[in-house]
Structures are given as structure tokens and as C-alpha cells.
């Protein structure tokens, strides 16, 4: 009962957050000196035609009118133009790109597999690798392995992803010529090639982000190992592996889930750079393109999508606590 109420209030809050973000998008791009209509007016472009295009794109409206139309479109769908050439964008309509002749929903869905493959694959890799490294460091605390792993971690954190990525592309892609650069093969088409094309970005992303997991895991594990219940577990006569592997790890689940949720939420934002570096045409690229072509509806649509992912990820994390942490489960 309570969980439903909690979720409902969070979702309501999320909707408000999203509306504010949408408003900010429209406001910022409205203030921008560049007129998006000019980009799709044609060459040469007469002032009359420019005005027509502006009206057609709706960019002659005030930003709050644009925002309102956009929000109304989500609820009731939208129609652009009229007569035979009218374009319908069915509810929920998260915008329509005149440049790409498609609804933003479709555009995101088209690009999403790439972004998801890229980031989720990397996330799995870095979560596993990072947690394993952190555990090893925690167990070998103060010894050489610990210093080595933590040294590697801090190095990984310090290297900018794009530098690492570009160097990786250069080394493995061009100099050694062992890995493909760019290009994406859908998983459904050929799983092997899918992985082969993504392995380099995965590794590069995993190095930078895995380091954070390693540090978190190590820190949390040491923290947990200093708790009284670990002493109890030892006093029971459990083996050290059991103590760490069961009693220790179980208590890391919640903080690691939190971090993972935040990361998953932030992946889309980070995809902007990653996809640029690895020449992959995912949602991040879509966003960059739309910004440079001032495709406001796509920008707002994708931004909202990205923000929604962040919010949903956080919400899921919050809800998952009640499953993962019995202390909360009972309370809710």
C-alpha cells in the first residue's frame, strides 16, 4: 500500500522535474540567436519563405507556447502542416523531427539499441571487473595487491575517457588493426560481430568506470568488515571466505545498486562523448546532431528521455532497497 503511494508521489515529482527540464530546453533554445528555420529554408532563401518555414516549424512562437504545444502533444498528439502534406504525430508525441522526418520516439527507438549495447555491455563489464578488483584489494588490504589494484584504479579514474578511447582506437583499430573501428552490428543479426565491434569501447569505458566500482567496493567492504556482525560471524567459526563472500558481500548490495543506478541513469549523458569517440550513431550522437542542427523538438525529446532515464533509474534504485534491504522492506 505504502510502496504504491511512495512510488506515486515519486512519479508525480518526476513529471514535474521533466516539465521543468522541458521548459528550460525551450527557453534556452528560444533565447539562442540562431534561427533553426534558416537551416531548413533552402538555398537561396527568401524572407517570405523563411517566415513560412518558421511558422511551419513553430519556432515563431514564444517558448512557453512551444512548451505548451509540446506538452499538449504528449497527451493529445500533434498535427503539423495541413492538407495532404499534414504530418500526424500520435499521442504520446514526444516531438517530431522535420529534419529526419520521423517522430522523436521512433528516432530514439532506432538509435537506442546502439547506446544500450554500448553502455550496458560496458556497465556489466565494469561492474563485474570493478567489484572483483575491489574485493581482491579489500581482502589483500595493505599488501602489494591492494596497492597495485588501487593504484590502477586511481590511474583509470584520472585518464579521460576520450583520451583513453581515442588511444585505444588508434592502437587496436589502426596500428595493430585487430579490432574494428566504429560500425555497429545489431545483436539480433550476429551476436559475435556485435560483441566484436563493441569490445573496444566496452573495455575503455570499463577501465574508467570500473575503477570507481573497485574503490567503492573496497571502501565499503572494509567498512562492513569492521562491523560487529562480521565479528559475530567469525566467532561462529565460519571460514573467512564465507564471512567475506556471504556476510560481507550481502551488505554491499545496496550501496553498489545505488551507484549502479546512478551510473545507468547517467549513461545517456555520457554517451554523447563516448559515441563521438567510437563513431557510433546512438542516442548521444542523435542529441549532438540535433543540437548542431537546432532540431529543438529532438533536443527536448531526447533530453527528456535522458532525464527520465535518470529519474527512473533512481526510482528503481529506491524501490529496490525495499527488496534488497530487509530493514526497509518491512517498514514500507
Amino acid at each position: 500500500m505504502n510502496r504504491v503511494k511512495f512510488a506515486a508521489s515519486r512519479i508525480l515529482g518526476a513529471v514535474v522535474v521533466l516539465i521543468i527540464i522541458a521548459a528550460a530546453c525551450f527557453a534556452i533554445f528560444y533565447l539562442m540567436p540562431t534561427n533553426p528555420a534558416q537551416l531548413s529554408c533552402g538555398k537561396p532563401c527568401s524572407p517570405e519563405r523563411l517566415a513560412e518555414v518558421e511558422a511551419y516549424l513553430g519556432v515563431d512562437q514564444s517558448w512557453w507556447k512551444q512548451l505548451f504545444d509540446f506538452l499538449a502533444g504528449i497527451i493529445g498528439g500533434r498535427t503539423f502542416g495541413e492538407g495532404a502534406a499534414a504530418i500526424h504525430c500520435n499521442a504520446p508525441c514526444f516531438g517530431y523531427s522535420f529534419r529526419l522526418r520521423d517522430s522523436v520516439t521512433n528516432l530514439i527507438l532506432q538509435r537506442l539499441p546502439i547506446t544500450v549495447s554500448l553502455t550496458l555491455g560496458a556497465a556489466v563489464l565494469w561492474a563485474i571487473g570493478g567489484i572483483a578488483a575491489g574485493l581482491i584489494a579489500a581482502l589483500r588490504r595493505g599488501r602489494f595487491t591492494d596497492s597495485a589494484v588501487m593504484g590502477a584504479a586511481i590511474t583509470g579514474i584520472s585518464a579521460p575517457t576520450y583520451l583513453l578511447g581515442l588511444l585505444g582506437v588508434l592502437l587496436f583499430g589502426f596500428t595493430l588493426n585487430v579490432l574494428p573501428i566504429g560500425g555497429y552490428v545489431p545483436l539480433t543479426e550476429n551476436p559475435l560481430m556485435w560483441a566484436f565491434h563493441l569490445i573496444l569501447p566496452w573495455i575503455v569505458l570499463a577501465i574508467a568506470n570500473g575503477a570507481i566500482y573497485a574503490r567503492l567496493t573496497r571502501g565499503q567492504m572494509l567498512d562492513v568488515l569492521s562491523q560487529d556482525y562480521i565479528r559475530t560471524a567469525r566467532a561462529k567459526g565460519l571460514s573467512e571466505t564465507f564471512v567475506v563472500g556471504k556476510h560481507g558481500l550481502r551488505n554491499l548490495v545496496v550501496p553498489l545498486t545505488t551507484l549502479f543506478a546512478i551510473d545507468i541513469g547517467g549513461l545517456l549523458g555520457g554517451a554523447v562523448i563516448t559515441e563521438k569517440v567510437f563513431a557510433l550513431g546512438g542516442v548521444g550522437t542523435l542529441l549532438l546532431e540535433s543540437v548542431s542542427s537546432l532540431d529543438i523538438q529532438v533536443i527536448v525529446g531526447v533530453t527528456l528521455f535522458a532525464a527520465a532515464v535518470v529519474i527512473v533509474a533512481n526510482l528503481l534504485a529506491d524501490l529496490s532497497y525495499s527488496i534488497l534491504d530487509p530493514r526497509i522492506g518491512a517498514r514500507a
Binding site: 505504502n2 562491523q227 560487529d228 556482525y229 562480521i230 565479528r231 559475530t232 560471524a233 567469525r234 566467532a235 561462529k236 567459526g237 565460519l238 571460514s239 573467512e240 564465507f242 556476510h247 550481502r250 551488505n251 548490495v253 534491504d325 530487509p326 530493514r327 518491512a330 517498514r331 514500507a332
Partner: protein, 568 residues
């Protein structure tokens, strides 16, 4: 019981951390069927002594010898005979089968001793499973173990073992958990049971049950090492006592010897510092008459007053009634004691009076003015009439500011004294609380716990408040330190003439200090009146139970009480 064969014997046992030696040349024996109490101040090395041989103190370097004798070995055998395992220097893999199987441990904080993520029954079952292979119980299936856990839970006096086994730790009360902890520690019937302050975190009424359980264990033939700093507990159940100071055993002896004929100065001091509840002490020796404070003049304004005060907390949809229609008067110029079990609403009253907690209904007055939580100037000035000292000596002072500036803070906020006048006042206040004036420049981490509480009192008294609220100001302190602070409070009260609301769960302390006492239970006032009356001749069953559960530091009285209780 032929208690000649020790189960565990310490000989010249020392533990050091790095270059710091924390225990030195500790020697004593744990004998099956009897309870040895290890007492001493905080930090004296009790826990280290008990736990380091089991490898449960990381970083500890041990020297000397701790031998675990085989129960099946020849009785009365000399040193070095087979059947003894030397625990010092044993490597972890060899220690593991001993832990939980031959030596069980009960820890102080039951709440943190259980892993919050697993069910209690599961955690107990683990202890069985960990030794199933070596034990011949190897064939024990899941169901068998489950049954054993339930039986064990029932054995430690938990009426509904199924529910407890299925519960997560946070779903149980401290007392339930401590029983479950004892069930866990004893499920493999170890020879030795180490109980490290098993009752300090519990209410006195709950404590009794736990102590009974330990006695049961000893009677079942286990050698019990009980670590405690509560001489009442020692008097209640210990057979022998080892007194520890600064890492050394200063005295060992039977419980009667220690209490009646303490040999070392330290033991004498320790016993003298323990507050005693006259109600029970009376039975033995006539107590000097305590002056009964004259009834307050009817026309003086009370220092504080609650009228029909109710506080209801709503958190995540549940309602907790912290105060239920409480009316009480704290007369000016006198010390009023407030006692009651944990959660009975004592601190809530303190919070209401200091404007930190809004009343759901009813009214609160300080010095005749209504208290509210509004942070306006009037209320703030009203709060200057109240000084507060809280329980935790560590949290009571800001670690980032010097002692002097913290004592001066209320003066800066509420007066326009010049800097020099303030400094002068701080010096006076420090002297009042019997601290050297140069302490003003120190930082809290440079003080001991008792010294910190003195500073906290000085700060609370800086504005010469009409009311001092002390919320368990000494419960985190060692008895000897506690005594100093309490004496100080009494002296200050006599000289400065403030009213004081003294909150404590220790009836003896309240009796020692307060002329008037209020007993609280579940947010209601059960009984109030002059402390002498209430605590010697309680009208309410609840108060009586409180009094009777509080152990007194006298083995004979405790033995009598125990006998009476068991007979009933």
C-alpha cells in the same frame, strides 16, 4: 562440581597493538560450571583479553599462553599435558573449528551483532552448519538444523521461536536479540562462553532475564567469562571476579571476598563509586537520614511545567505516542528525577521543554512562559533560562571549537558582555566545574569523557539558567567518573540554586541526587513523589519491578533476591 580442571586458562597473557601494549601478564582460569566476572574501567583491556585469543581482534599481537583444555582429558592433569590446545599462535585455519564450537561468544550490542541482511534463524543455523562436518552431525539435514535452532531458541526463553527465527534482526527487540545471540553462542554446546557486556545496552527489566540465562549456562556445566563494568551484575551472578586496571589484573577472588574484603585500593574505589539504591541497601544497614526538601512555597513559579502534554510522532504512516497526556511540575530550585524504561518518553520531555519538539496537544511552560518551537526572539530568550547536558560525552561538544569558546557561546548570544568579561566568566565557570582555567584553550579531543561532561555542564550553566535539564549525562561514563560528575552536579545545585530535571534510567543515581522523582512508562506518568517514598515504597507495580530488577552491588542481597524470584 569438581571445578579443578579449568576449561580455559590464561597465563601471563599480553596483547599489544604495534608498540602499544594494552594488556600485560594476565592470568586466570575459567572453570566449567562457574562464572568469572572480568570487571574494570572502560579501556582497561577486558574485551581484548577475552577476544584476542580467538583471533577476533585484528592487529593484536599476543604473548603468553591461553590454553583450551579438552573436556575429555584427564582431570587434574598438570601443565603441558595432552588435551590442551594452545590458542596463542594458532593460525586462523586451526582457530576456526574452535570458535563457536568450543568457545561461544555473546557481544554487547545485540542489534549490531546480527547481520541486518539475514534472518535470525538462518544466522543461528550457520553456526551449526559451520561445524557440521567436523562434528559427526554431518548428516544433519536442513530440517534437522531448523529444528535444532527452534529448540535452542525455546531454550533461551523465547516464547515464539518460529517467529523469531523468521524475523530480521531489526524486527526484534534488544532483549529478544540478546537471547537469540545467546542461543547462537551456545547452540553447539561450547565448553566456554564469553559474554562481553551482554546487558549494557538493555533495560534493567530485560537484563534480569539475560543474566538468568547466563546462570543457566553455567549450571549446565559451561565455563562462563562475563565481562561487565556493572558491579551489580557481578554481585548478582558471578562466582569469581577478576578486577582489571590498565591492562593488568589487580585482584582476583571469589565474589564474596571482592565485595566484602577488597584487597586492592582500586577495587575499593570502584565499589565505593557504585551508586546504591537505598531501598534495597536498607535491608542490611540503616542509612543515614536524607534531608527531605521542604515543600515548595505555593506562590513561587515552577521552573517548568507540562499540562496535558501529548506528543505523537508520525513516521512513514505509523503513529508513535511518545507522550500521552503528561502533566508534571518541575519546582524551582530543586532536582526532579525522571526515570523510566527506554522509549518511555524521557528525552521527549526534555526536547519539549527546550523548544526542540512541538506538542501535539497540551501546553508547556518554562519560568511561567509558554514554550513553543518558534524560533522567534522571545522564545530564544526564554531558552536562555534553560541549560542542557546530554548523554553522549563525545557528541556534547563541538570537536572543532575550543572549550573556552564553547562555554562562552551562550554568553555571546545572549549578553553584551565584552570579550574580557566573557573570558572572566569562562574562567569562573571552569573553576565551578572543577577544571583548571587553562582548559579553555583545549579542544574536546584533548579531554576525557568526564572532563567533557564537566565542560558541557559549565556551558549549560553559563547563563545561570533557572532550569538545568540533564538527559542521562553520566550513563556513558565509568562509575568512578560518573561519581565525580554527579557529586559536582549536587554541589553546583547547592550553590547555584537552579532547578534541575535529571533524567536517568539508573534508579540509584536518581535517588542519590533527586528529591522528587517522576516515573514514566510508555509516555505516561505512572507515579511521582518524593524520591524517598517512591523508591522505597513504590505504589505502582511497574516502579517496583524497576527497583527489583536493578542489581545491587552486594552478592548476598542479590542471592536472596534471586532465590525469591525463582521461588515465585
Amino acid at each position: 562440581m569438581t571445578a579443578t580442571t579449568p576449561a580455559l586458562s590464561y597465563r601471563d597473557y599480553s596483547v599489544s597493538f604495534g608498540s602499544r601494549t594494552v594488556t600485560r601478564d594476565v592470568s586466570f582460569d575459567l572453570v566449567p560450571g562457574s562464572i568469572l566476572a572480568l570487571v574494570g574501567e572502560s579501556g582497561s583491556g577486558k574485551s581484548v583479553t577475552a577476544l584476542a585469543p580467538l583471533g577476533l581482534v585484528p592487529g593484536a599481537r599476543q604473548a603468553g599462553s591461553v590454553k583450551l583444555w579438552d573436556p575429555a582429558g584427564p582431570a587434574g592433569g598438570g601443565v603441558g599435558l595432552t588435551g590442551a590446545i594452545e590458542l596463542v599462535g594458532l593460525d586462523p585455519a586451526e582457530l576456526r573449528p574452535i570458535r563457536g564450537e568450543r568457545i561461544g561468544v555473546v557481544f554487547q550490542e545485540p542489534m549490531s551483532a546480527f547481520n541486518p541482511m539475514f534472518r535470525v534463524g538462518h544466522q543461528i543455523a550457520e553456526a551449526v552448519r559451520a561445524h557440521a562436518g567436523s562434528d559427526g552431525a554431518g548428516g544433519a539435514g536442513r530440517g534437522d538444523i531448523g529444528q535444532r535452532v527452534l529448540a535452542q531458541l525455546r531454550a533461551v526463553g523465547l516464547p515464539d521461536p518460529e517467529k523469531v527465527a523468521e524475523a530480521y534482526p531489526h524486527e526484534l527487540s534488544g532483549g529478544q536479540l540478546q537471547r537469540a545471540m545467546i542461543a547462537l553462542a551456545t547452540i553447539n554446546s561450547p565448553q566456554v562462553l564469553i559474554a562481553d557486556e551482554p546487558t549494557t545496552a538493555l533495560d534493567v527489566t530485560v537484563q534480569t532475564g539475560i543474566l538468568d540465562l547466563l546462570v543457566d549456562q553455567a549450571q549446565a556445566g559451561q565455563a562462563v567469562l562475563l565481562i561487565t563494568h556493572d558491579m551489580g551484575v557481578v554481585a548478582d551472578i558471578a562466582d569469581r571476579v577478576a578486577v582489571m586496571k590498565d591492562g593488568r589484573i589487580v585482584e582476583t577472588g571469589s565474589v564474596e571476598d571482592i565485595f566484602d574484603r577488597p584487597a586492592s585500593d582500586y577495587t575499593q574505589q570502584l565499589l565505593a563509586a557504585v551508586p546504591r539504591l537505598s531501598a534495597v541497601v536498607d535491608a542490611r544497614a540503616p542509612r543515614e537520614e536524607r534531608p527531605v526538601a521542604p515543600a515548595p512555597a505555593a506562590d513561587t513559579v515552577p521552573a517548568a511545567e507540562l499540562r496535558d502534554a501529548t506528543v505523537v510522532h508520525r513516521s512513514s504512516g505509523r503513529q508513535v505516542i511518545a507522550l500521552d497526556d503528561v502533566s508534571l511540575v518541575i519546582p524551582a530550585g530543586r532536582i526532579t528525577g525522571l526515570v523510566g524504561e527506554s522509549g518511555s518518553g524521557k528525552s521527549t520531555i526534555a526536547n519539549v521543554l527546550t523548544g526542540g519538539q512541538a506538542l501535539t496537544s497540551g501546553e508547556a511552560f518554562v519560568a511561567g512562559e509558554r514554550v513553543s518551537t518558534r524560533p522567534n526572539r522571545r522564545q530564544r530568550r526564554l531558552r536562555a533560562e534553560v541549560g542542557v547536558v546530554f548523554q553522549d560525552p563525545r557528541g556534547s561538544l563541538n570537536p572543532r571549537r575550543s572549550v573556552g569558546s564553547q562555554i562562552a557561546e551562550p554568553l555571546r548570544v545572549h549578553t553584551d558582555l565584552s570579550g574580557r568579561d566573557i573570558d572572566a566568566r569562562v574562567d569562573v565557570l571552569l573553576t565551578d566545574v572543577q577544571l583548571p582555567t587553562d582548559f579553555a584553550a583545549r579542544f574536546p579531543h584533548e579531554l576525557s569523557g568526564g572532563q567533557r561532561q564537566r565542560v558541557a555542564i559549565a556551558r549549560a550553566l553559563a547563563l545561570r539558567p533557572k532550569l538545568l535539564i540533564a538527559d542521562e549525562p553520566t550513563s556513558a561514563l565509568d562509575v568512578s567518573v560518573q561519581r565525580g560528575v554527579l557529586t559536582l552536579l549536587g554541589e553546583l545545585h547547592a550553590s547555584l540554586d537552579f532547578a534541575c530535571l535529571f533524567i536517568s534510567h539508573d534508579l540509584a543515581v536518581v535517588e542519590q541526587l533527586a528529591g522528587h522523582v517522576v516515573v514514566l512508562k510508555d509516555g505516561r506518568v505512572v507515579e511521582q513523589g518524593p524520591s524517598l517514598e517512591v523508591l522505597t515504597d513504590p505504589a505502582e507495580a511497574y516502579t517496583r519491578r524497576l527497583i527489583e530488577s536493578a542489581p545491587v552491588p552486594d552478592p548476598r542481597i542479590q542471592a536472596a533476591r534471586r532465590a525469591a524470584r525463582l521461588a515465585a
